[in-house]
Symmetry: C2
Subunit: 430 residues, 2 copies
């Protein structure tokens, strides 16, 4: 492939694995350099993860929170985007093995992120889908909407109840967002549309093993988030371990809870590519990088974003959030530029721009240093921040429109079931 260093091209070849917030920031940060850049992603699009739960809950359509990587980088002539999969890294040869061919690099940035993990219960995934990709979101959307359809069709009261029981496992931001939105759908969006099973009888249970929701926030905000969720109709159970998940529901401790729809927001594990770098990993499988985010012994290889394990001077880990990934990406780009110019490099410093989590209609929590907000004000901050960070004017416009629409009508325009999973594939006609 052209990308190979076998070509006598003198320009340094920077290979970026992953087109998320981190990888994209590296590519953009090197726009004004002589570097040849190859960005590899197995998907053709950059995904705005923070709003993925809204695709899963039918509030937004997929293209509103995703943009083709080529389109984002079309103007940057020194970037080649390849839709492919990174299988392995040969640190000695400075070569990445792809699904199709291989690439030699002068500098490598690994930004392949994290995925949801089931802590040794991989069989749970079938019953409790997690939320990392657009396909995950479609699976959750399908299961949630079909559950109400099944309830409407069901004659047996116990079965009907089981179809109207929803369990969300994990009290982090994603779990809180999913639970709050499910309650809103059941209480406000669907009621007038069913003749037999009243969606208002739906029960949304949020289960968290730890002592409080949103552990990344201050304790008082955890309490506020819980109260806001309960006001929306969500049943919150803290300090409760899920010991079993199957197609009938969950077992909490040793109490079975019948529910035909279980969503997983409990755990993430770093991309398996981290294990290929021969570097020490933390318990979550993240790579323990040097202060300049490089791999020990390989200053030409960087790991950023959710795959990197970085400890701040205050001893706290850098959180696995979009702003951190962006900052790491910009830092690596600046570091490479400094090196090429023979300038010294400072270690990476994470700047905490604050944390936001939305809960539902006019309910959210926000934390900026000492400043803590909750309720309507936090919700507005969340809303404006997320519109502002979306990529593409068209998407900002349509998302604003859809949110205004949902606000006034309580409707969610993307309530379209496509594809199949546990539901049998139906013949083309009838």
């Amino acid at each position: 492939m052209e990308g190979n260093a076998s070509s006598p091209d003198p320009r340094p070849h920077v290979v970026i694995l992953g087109g998320g917030f981190g990888g994209l920031a590296v590519a953009r940060g090197l726009a004004d350099t002589k570097a040849r850049i190859t960005l590899i992603d197995r998907r053709n699009h950059h995904l705005f993860q923070p709003l993925l739960y809204q695709v899963a809950t039918a509030g937004l359509s997929a293209p509103s929170i995703a943009a083709p990587l080529r389109q984002i980088l079309r103007g940057q002539a020194n970037v080649t985007v390849l839709m492919d999969e990174a299988l392995d890294v040969d640190l000695a040869q400075r070569r990445v093995t792809l699904g199709h061919g291989s690439l030699d690099y002068d500098a490598l940035v690994v930004a392949t992120g994290a995925t949801h993990a089931y802590f040794g219960h991989d069989d749970w995934e079938r019953h409790a889908p997690g939320l990392k990709t657009l396909d995950d979101a479609f699976t959750i959307r399908r299961r949630v909407l079909l559950a109400f359809e099944r309830a409407e069709r069901e004659d047996d009261p116990a079965q009907r109840r089981a179809w109207l029981n929803f369990v969300v496992v994990g009290g982090g931001a994603t779990g809180v967002e999913l639970a709050g939105t499910l309650a809103e759908i059941a209480r406000h969006t669907l009621p007038r549309e069913f003749r037999r099973a009243d969606p208002r009888h739906a029960n949304v249970l949020l289960v968290e093993a730890g002592p409080r929701l949103l552990p990344a926030f201050a304790p008082e905000l955890s309490d506020k988030a819980q109260r806001q969720l309960e006001k929306l109709g969500v049943e919150v159970r803290l300090g409760t371990a899920v010991t079993r998940i199957d197609d009938q529901g969950v077992v909490l401790g040793d109490l079975p809870h019948a529910a035909r729809t279980v969503l997983w927001a409990a755990g993430v594990a770093a991309s398996s590519l981290g294990r290929r770098l021969g570097a020490p990993l933390d318990r979550a499988g993240r790579v323990l990088v040097e202060p300049d985010l490089s791999v020990p012994g390989h200053p030409e290889v960087f790991v950023i974003g959710d795959l990197a394990s970085v400890t701040q001077p205050n001893g706290k880990p850098v959180p696995g959030v979009a702003p951190a990934a962006k900052q790491m990406g910009r830092y690596v780009a600046a570091t490479l530029k400094a090196r090429w110019q023979g300038k010294p490099v400072q270690p990476f410093r994470y700047r905490d721009d604050g944390s936001l989590a939305t809960i539902g209609r006019m309910a959210a929590v926000a934390q900026f240093g000492r400043l803590k907000l909750s309720g309507l004000l936090a919700w507005w901050v969340w809303l404006i921040a997320h519109i502002a960070f979306l990529i593409g004017f068209r998407n900002r416009l349509v998302v604003m429109l859809d949110w205004a629409w949902a606000y006034w009508t309580y409707q969610r325009h993307a309530r379209i079931v496509t594809g199949t999973d546990e539901t049998p594939t139906l013949p083309r006609d009838a």
Copy 2:
């Protein structure tokens, strides 16, 4: 189920199979009656078929042209919507067998439409997807967008060419729309985004077995459509039969044509449910109905839309288009009301509101009786008509926005690849 006539409910029970243009028109036409209505569809949404090709070509997102049937009918208290599949009809017992349970009816309307047919070459479907459902549209979108990705990744010139060769089989409205849009994507949307394979080298071949495109239109409009397509860069081959389709391309007569992407717009066959009604069928498998659209010998059973074979007084068949289905639906609703009131019923008369077909940017053909339009003016008529007939204000607004957007920027916002088919499923990470 409640729907069963075993309940002593005196109100006539009307069962409608299919929530397309026809079935929906029947339900709405019976809004102000004492009838109990049950609408069955295996999908949860009504689909605006005329714009489906724009979802397939990444111009629109799925929710913009689909709306949940429950939401459309939420205000009509005498309608129960069930997401289920009609498997069989027992005319003697007046009972429909569903995937889950059965329903007794006093009147039955079969409006399950048509699907694409491969004329005894069912193995072609794998290589040449057709376009009838949103899932079909996603498959086509994925194949088209991935073809350009593969070309960019491909080193072998012959293989690269094969990935940039597109064949559309069938010169009806769908085939013309798909071919024209593919040419526009290759020439205007993608060029600046690829570094190796120039999308402008893409070749779009439209193959039609008959002597002209758009046989439903006047011959001079067929010629105009062909010239407009050729101006957009589409290669049109008339009077050419496809004798073979496989993963390497097509064989035209006995000339092999290498193409990794083949789309099928050549033929439709009526829903297999028609065969369950014991009524005479035409060659396309459509039910030959009475002048009042009822099944011979069963005045309580109606067949409408693409599944019905109706001949006009002028000897011409009623075309399988949305306006015809709507007219049949409204007619059946009026007929049932007249019968319940003991009034006489006139036979169904199809009113031709004209035909429209779009070809691409500012190119279309339109025919209203003697009035024939083509080019920009026809394109505007097409545009306004399709916005007007969309369901839902939000969708009209967003579709207008997306079209204006595409017009000015040449961008297509829904260029997001999700799901997998012939491409191997990729592991969750790396």
